[in-house]
């Protein structure tokens, strides 16, 4: 008999790359659970576009996650199992409350990947500490204090710095680092609390380690992931550069950490996945458990994807009772998922921040998360991943060519080394370039020593290259350390083509390497490729009929829309039988089912992080289109905000074939409202075809844009006021309303006849709230207004 399974948990409303990761995880979980014969019901607070690719709208519940609604969902759909999917504090609280109710006693549901104890330890820091203490683990000195004077006593005993947060039982509060009495006083004044405060000795010079364990109900466990943060503890883990696998702690310490987390997993009877955050101080040979989280953490998801481990497929399978060594993946392969991976490459995660220009990026770093996304890079050595990361973050030029901090005095550099902000990496490089001792830089910054040594080596290489133009040994050394043709050309003041010619003579080629650990996973691995320079014959790549290339943008909303658009394109191309390859650092393979070749980086592509639009480059080499290139652009919201005044605008997406046959999407009506000087609300609603709009748009296109294949028109009072040679961030809405959009687009681009029938399936809208902070960063929060696609209303 079919069992009803509730896939529950909100993805963040904040448009970040984490949202994408969460949606991808949901999508994979849904695919697998459905394949296993479960009737999967989604309960989420936001519409998830990824999921909408295939899900039956009758099984999608979009409603606020709270106890009341949870009970209604369980009752309505006769839920037997719940899989809470993300680290949403609210979701956990709701489940915890639910488990205390009489309703739960009457309707007992089984939790997957979660049990009562792990739930408690995840929610309560105090409970975690008590548990760890009872199990003989060392604890960081901490105390619950009622007021300032008690906190002051703690500080006198432990010394500064300390971290402190108000102990609010209802909502999650953030830690603050306190280094002076004045800061402590200021904190208490700014944060009144009836529940007291948690104060803890700061361990901000420790290394932060993350480990992910998978366990089955037969008590089998495997450490499937480990990473190390480059920035010290005290800077939020998501704002730090992270590297997997762990690279700078000894084998002895690693095994101690492994023993500790496996013991905890055993004690907590973890079935599914559990993430552990640990702090390590090798000077005193000690470590602390900072956090236990039994849920998916979106920060580490793309890193695990880079290891090729089909994480979600495994989590769902073991959650349903399978043995770790006999897991069936989406691709149908039965794999041994009890593997502790030996990656033959290094993966690093570089955080990024959403700003309009890089100059605006003056953000301070601390315990509170501020980054809005991350770029994932792979390489076969640490030098290469650092170079790729710096390039993707637009920092290569500032560090190796422009030396942006060169005009500062040594004293000013020292001050900048102490200041925890995004720009500090430039000061660190300048200090190393000037000959500051590494030990000195490390004592100021607390950066990982190995990372600093790597930076110093790269800077030395760069200086040597500038001084010794034409030195071929140096060229090989530099390219093996991740210097690409463009940077070398700039350092030697020749063209990238000349560098390419030189390295070809040296048999130094750009090699594409697969990310899964080749000796560990065979079947079921999620395959992605990365490139590196090696003195090895280059393998001729397959002749793909269609290649899609995209680089990440700092504007996460356009990234989000681009990922959705690209995945839809891939689905259609593959359904039509074309061989497809995808390049770029934003896109990667999701699950073992997909057969598309993803190239996670491309050394030839220039950086586009702070461009005003996110560009997808399509290359066709099919029977109909031989060697043809197109660009699809999604413009960042801020780049066309100036079009609005008090009146709403109509957006119409059009596609036009070579015979000027025109396809018009249902219009989107949008309104921009400034709420405060920093805050805007951008509401977009889908509408029906109106004859006036159709007439105006058709006439405009035929007269002004007769050869343009696609684009967006803005209309005001039925008059066209602007043409955008691409799409806006509302393209997702357009796709949802006009289900044949992708089909028409593809066929027009490829020059194949297409039916232009426009099937409308529903109307809805969304509100994007943009908050521009004083420090130049901005955030975008998405809220879907009406969801007629989501028929499973409560």
């Amino acid at each position: 008999m079919t069992q009803n399974l509730l896939l529950m948990g909100t993805t963040t409303g904040l448009a970040t790359s984490e949202k994408l990761e969460q949606e991808k995880a949901l999508y994979i979980a849904w695919q697998l659970l459905t394949k296993r014969g479960y009737r999967v019901i989604f309960y989420t607070e936001n519409r998830e576009a990824f999921v909408n690719l295939r899900i039956d709208p009758q099984l999608l519940v979009v409603a606020e996650i709270n106890l009341h609604n949870l009970k209604k969902v369980i009752q309505k759909f006769a839920i037997e199992l719940i899989l809470p999917t993300f680290s949403s504090f609210n979701t956990l609280l709701t489940i915890k409350s639910f488990m205390k109710t009489d309703f739960y006693q009457r309707h007992p549901v089984k939790l997957i990947n979660l049990n009562t104890q792990t739930l408690k330890l995840t929610i309560s820091h105090h409970a975690l500490n008590t548990f760890l203490q009872n199990q003989g683990f060392r604890l960081i000195e901490h105390q619950l204090v009622p007021d300032f004077s008690a906190a002051q006593k703690f500080v006198i005993k432990q010394g500064f710095p300390v971290i402190i947060r108000s102990s609010n039982k209802e909502i999650k509060t953030y830690w603050n680092t306190i280094s002076t009495i004045q800061q402590l006083q200021d904190f208490f004044e700014a944060n009144p609390s009836n529940d007291g405060y948690e104060v803890e000795r700061s361990i901000n010079n420790f290394k932060e380690i993350t480990m992910v364990i998978i366990g089955d109900k037969f008590a089998n466990q495997a450490v499937v992931y480990s990473s190390e943060d480059v920035d010290p503890i005290g800077i939020h883990s998501t704002d730090s550069i992270s590297v997997t696998p762990i690279f700078s702690i000894s084998n002895t310490m690693y095994q101690r950490l492994r023993d500790a987390v496996l013991r905890l997993c055993h004690l907590l009877k973890i079935v599914g996945m559990c993430t552990f955050h640990l702090a390590v101080d090798e000077a005193t040979n000690s470590f602390y458990i900072l956090e236990i989280s039994p849920l998916f953490q979106s920060k580490i998801l793309p890193m695990i994807e880079s290891l090729g481990y089909p994480l979600f497929e495994v989590v769902c399978e073991v959650g349903l009772g399978q043995r770790l060594q006999k897991v069936e993946t989406l691709s149908g392969a039965t794999i041994n998922a009890a593997v502790e991976l030996t990656p033959n490459h290094i993966t690093a995660r570089f955080p990024i921040w959403q700003t309009i220009t890089q100059k605006d990026l003056v953000n301070n770093l601390g315990p509170r998360k501020t980054s809005t996304g991350a770029i994932i890079v792979n390489g076969n050595n640490l030098e290469t991943v650092v170079m790729k990361g710096l390039k993707a973050c637009n920092l290569q030029e500032a560090i190796f060519l422009k030396h942006l901090a060169a005009s500062l005095s040594d004293e000013e550099i020292e001050v900048r080394l102490f200041t925890k902000n995004v720009q500090r990496i430039i000061a660190v490089c300048e200090a190393l370039d000037r000959g500051f001792e590494i030990a000195e830089v490390q004592s100021f910054t607390k950066y990982n020593l190995t990372f600093l040594q790597t930076l110093q080596y790269l800077l030395q290489l760069s200086n040597q290259l500038q001084g010794q133009k034409g030195d071929l040994t140096l060229l090989i050394q530099a390219q093996e350390a991740g210097f690409d043709d463009q940077l070398l050309a700039q350092l030697w003041q020749i063209t990238p083509q000349q560098i390419k010619q030189i390295r070809q003579q040296l048999r130094l080629n750009q090699i594409q390497q697969a990310t899964p650990a080749s000796f560990d996973i065979d079947q079921g691995a999620v395959l992605n490729y990365y490139s590196s320079y090696l003195q090895d014959p280059a393998k001729r790549p397959p002749n793909y009929q269609i290649t899609l290339a995209n680089e990440q943008n700092a504007d996460v909303l356009s990234n989000y829309e681009m990922v959705m658009l690209t995945h839809r394109l891939i689905h259609h191309f593959q359904a039509d039988g074309f061989s497809v390859a995808v390049r770029g650092n934003l896109l990667n393979n999701l699950d073992s089912l997909n057969q598309t070749d993803f190239y996670t980086d491309n050394l030839e592509v220039s950086n586009g992080l702070y461009n005003s639009k996110n560009i997808l480059r399509l290359h066709f080499n099919t029977q109909e289109k031989h060697n043809q290139n197109y660009q699809l652009a999604i413009y960042n919201l801020w780049s066309y905000l100036h079009l609005w005044d008090a009146e709403p605008l109509q957006e119409v997406v059009f596609i036009q074939d070579q015979n000027q046959q025109l396809w018009l999407a249902s219009p989107i009506s949008s309104q921009l409202t400034q709420i405060t000087p920093q805050r805007w609300e951008f509401v977009a609603l889908s509408g029906k075809h109106q004859s006036q709009i159709v007439q105006q748009a058709t006439a405009y296109i035929h007269q002004i844009l007769p050869t343009v294949k696609f684009g967006t028109l803005f209309l005001k009072n039925d008059q066209v006021i602007q043409f955008l040679p691409g799409f806006t961030t509302n393209i997702g809405l357009t796709q949802e309303v006009n289900t044949n959009f992708i089909n028409v687009l593809i066929h027009v681009l490829m020059g194949i006849d297409s039916s232009f029938a426009n099937n409308k399936v529903g109307y809805f809208g969304r509100k994007v709230t943009i908050y521009r902070q004083k420090n130049g960063l901005y955030t975008s929060r998405i809220k879907y207004l009406t969801t007629q696609l989501s028929n499973a209303s409560l």
């Binding site: 000894s250 770790l324 060594q325 009890a338 033959n344 560990d520």
Partner: protein, 359 residues
């Protein structure tokens, strides 16, 4: 300086030199070790072999003396995916480059490790040379090479020596001993005496030990008939633990047969399953030979462990005698502590045997 790795079938890989600038030839093995470079390079089981490290080497801390498994490593070369610049430091006495030079080990870094690993996986383990050129002469040399057959003799101690403590007296037959075996026995207070591979049963029994350990080591156990004979003579008289090569020695001595694996098990993160409990554990493996499953019917052993990846027999226990063996290396070093319990079970076995004997 460029350096070339040339395989027996002529396939060539180019990279950069590290270690002593000499040429070398040996059997190529792929190691999955995630950490513990010192343990691996100094492990005598790699005698006459060229070790390929799949994982990029990142740690800049240098070679840690505390993790050596032998004073004089005898591998023929090391191949790295990548090595950080700091490990080439002339000043740092603990840098990898200095370590390899001091011990006369040649190496290559920055080669296409994925292509190499895939090649070995497809075509099986083969001989290889570390060369300065990639000409036909170099290829002829490797084709002419005969892999030595006396590896255990090379690495085993020439003289007995004690590792004193206050507990059970253990005779450790050194077939390529890793110090970590002694460390684990010491932790359990065992009073060990290390004996050469060709110690006779009489030599051993004269010492009146409480148990015997046949250690891990390099090569084919059929090349040490004297050890097989000793094992046959001791069995049933004393508790025996066979580790790695010692596991194969015990199996052969009891009528089992062995075969050469396609590319062996070399790594600290291979998973094995304990048959009785279906529990999974990760341990360090290092062997090119394994027991032929069909031949198990000719023995009086039952299988206790198998490798999850390829179902290879990884552990045995005698049905009546106090004899247990594991193909993997429970002492870890490098690798996880999952299988340390094997030593505890061995101590329990000795205790039970002594109690039975006293009764």
């Amino acid at each position: 300086m460029n350096k070339y790795l040339i395989l027996e079938d002529g396939t060539t890989f180019q990279g950069d030199a590290i270690g002593v600038p000499s040429i070398s030839t040996g059997e190529l093995v792929i190691s999955n070790n995630l950490s513990g470079l010192e343990n691996t390079i100094t492990d005598q089981t790699y005698n006459d072999q060229i070790i390929v490290f799949v994982r990029p080497f990142v740690d800049t801390g240098g070679m840690n003396r505390d993790d050596y498994e032998a004073i004089a490593p005898s591998c023929k070369g090391v191949i790295f995916n990548s090595v950080p610049a700091s490990q080439f430091s002339v000043q740092d006495p603990h840098s990898l480059n200095n370590f390899l030079k001091k011990r006369h080990i040649p190496g290559i870094t920055n080669i296409n490790i994925q292509r190499l690993a895939q090649h070995i996986k497809t075509h099986g383990a083969m001989k290889a040379s570390i060369m300065d050129t990639a000409d036909e002469h170099a290829r002829d040399q490797i084709r002419a090479l005969v892999i030595p057959r006396d590896r255990v003799k090379t690495v085993s101690t020439k003289q007995p020596y004690p590792n004193p403590n206050v507990g059970f007296k253990i005779a450790v037959i050194d077939l390529g001993l890793k110090y970590s075996i002694l460390r684990q026995l010491s932790i359990r207070k065992c009073d060990s005496i290390v004996l050469p591979y060709n110690a006779t049963a009489t030599d051993i029994l004269d010492l009146d030990p409480d148990a015997v350990v046949f250690t891990s080591g390099p090569g084919n156990p059929q090349e040490i008939p004297e050890t097989l004979k000793t094992c046959q003579q001791l069995e049933g008289q004393l508790p025996i633990l066979g580790i790695g090569l010692g596991h194969l020695v015990v199996a052969l001595a009891n009528g089992a047969e062995i075969y050469h694996m396609a590319y062996g098990h070399h790594g600290s993160n291979l998973s094995t399953v304990e048959i009785a409990t279906e529990n999974i554990e990760f341990s360090n493996h290092n062997h090119n030979y394994a027991i032929e499953p069909q031949s198990m019917s000719q023995t009086n052993f039952f299988i206790t462990h198998r490798c999850l990846a390829d179902n290879v027999i990884e552990g045995l226990r005698h049905r009546s005698d106090p004899t247990m063996t594991v193909q993997f290396q429970p002492e870890a070093a490098p690798g996880t502590h999952d299988a340390l319990y094997i030593f505890d079970e061995f101590i329990e076995m000795i205790t039970s045997f002594k109690q039975g004997k006293n009764l």
